[in-house]
Symmetry: C2
Subunit: 217 residues, 2 copies
Amino acid sequence: MKADKISEAVVRRLPVYLRYLNELHKREVTTVSSQELGQKLDLNPAQIRKDLAYFGDFGRKGIGYDVVYLIDKIRHILKIDQQINVALVGAGNLGQALSNYNAYLKDNMKIVAVFDSSPAKIGHQINTLTVQPMDELRETVRQLHIRIGIITVPDFEAQRVADEMIESGIGAILNFAPTIIKAPPHIRIHATDFTTDLLSLAYYLENGKDDNENDDQ
Amino acid sequence: MKADKISEAVVRRLPVYLRYLNELHKREVTTVSSQELGQKLDLNPAQIRKDLAYFGDFGRKGIGYDVVYLIDKIRHILKIDQQINVALVGAGNLGQALSNYNAYLKDNMKIVAVFDSSPAKIGHQINTLTVQPMDELRETVRQLHIRIGIITVPDFEAQRVADEMIESGIGAILNFAPTIIKAPPHIRIHATDFTTDLLSLAYYLENGKDDNENDDQ
DNA sequence: TAGATTGTTAATCGATTAACAATC
DNA sequence: TAGATTGTTAATCGATTAACAATC
């Protein structure tokens, strides 16, 4: 296939494929079919084939996909065949927790700097990193070629931090604060909100004991 | 409108509406239009009206929506007009960070118990909660009427923990481990995966310096 | 050759957006 | 009455799934 603009849904599945492919590789499996991938990842095999076909002909008819080859291809598509440096702003509990994921992010992504605006936090050590003051953001982003920012500050600070990140030249932001961040269209923003996730789960609970509803199941 | 089955996309927007409505209420705003909501939340006003109309006629033509009334309605729809108790399994950094969100979850959702399988963690204090051993899960779920579980254990333990939660009578799970959890269809599982979010962001970076691609923009 | 599995087209399904009559 | 805004239908858009020829 090739070309066409790729939908966000497709892009978000690529890391999921990659994760399972890495696991297969570790288990020394060399080949995998869309059928098996689909079963393991709860996805339709046709969808997986279509997703991959957007980027090239990676499989072999009658055989399936070569695990190592596909890993390489997906890493290239995601642009993680080069190291991508990440800055995290907000050295609270969540920020500290995420810093520990560096080990998981072995795929050439790395949190290389942590910032906070609170004097109480500055200078503290988080793993191998020292919490830096916000006014060093710009210079550090430049020096370390940081391209992605993670926001783990309280909601009322999130927009300001995003603005500073963008000012500093960061190209994409992962926002954990429960607020909608506005940014120019060339800056990519993904939001992930724990409270929203949790509240929406409640909707699907079957009705509790003290209950006399019967509208939606 | 009423009836029809409600799509997941709609349900996931309800907590977003609720969050902003709460903010409006705090600012003593009494009425809001779908237009203003849409602008603030980066959503299409028609979509907002349609979302809400699935559940009833909450607005007034020519006027908009009454903030307090709509808050009440959404809380009822999400079933958080009763308190919903939550258990968290995995008292690592992420688990501890999430426990601190109790303050944010004022909408009648509360993490009321924390578990871990590691003897080193059991007995530790996290805010007001004491980390309990896994074999107390079942009994605690029953006693405290816990209905939602949060999984913050390493990936290789996630499926087992989910199974135990389901065994214990938990009806919905929020999974932070980077693995696909299998469960019977009546158990709702939402996944939220930091590494997947971050890797997919890289795709959208404009091409870096050392680069000679020009296929996708 | 027979069996398996891809890449791709066509069919289906679902979600978003536009438009507008109803009405406050 | 004039202006604003809902609720809802119809139009559009996009994503998923089924089906199958191509081929390893």
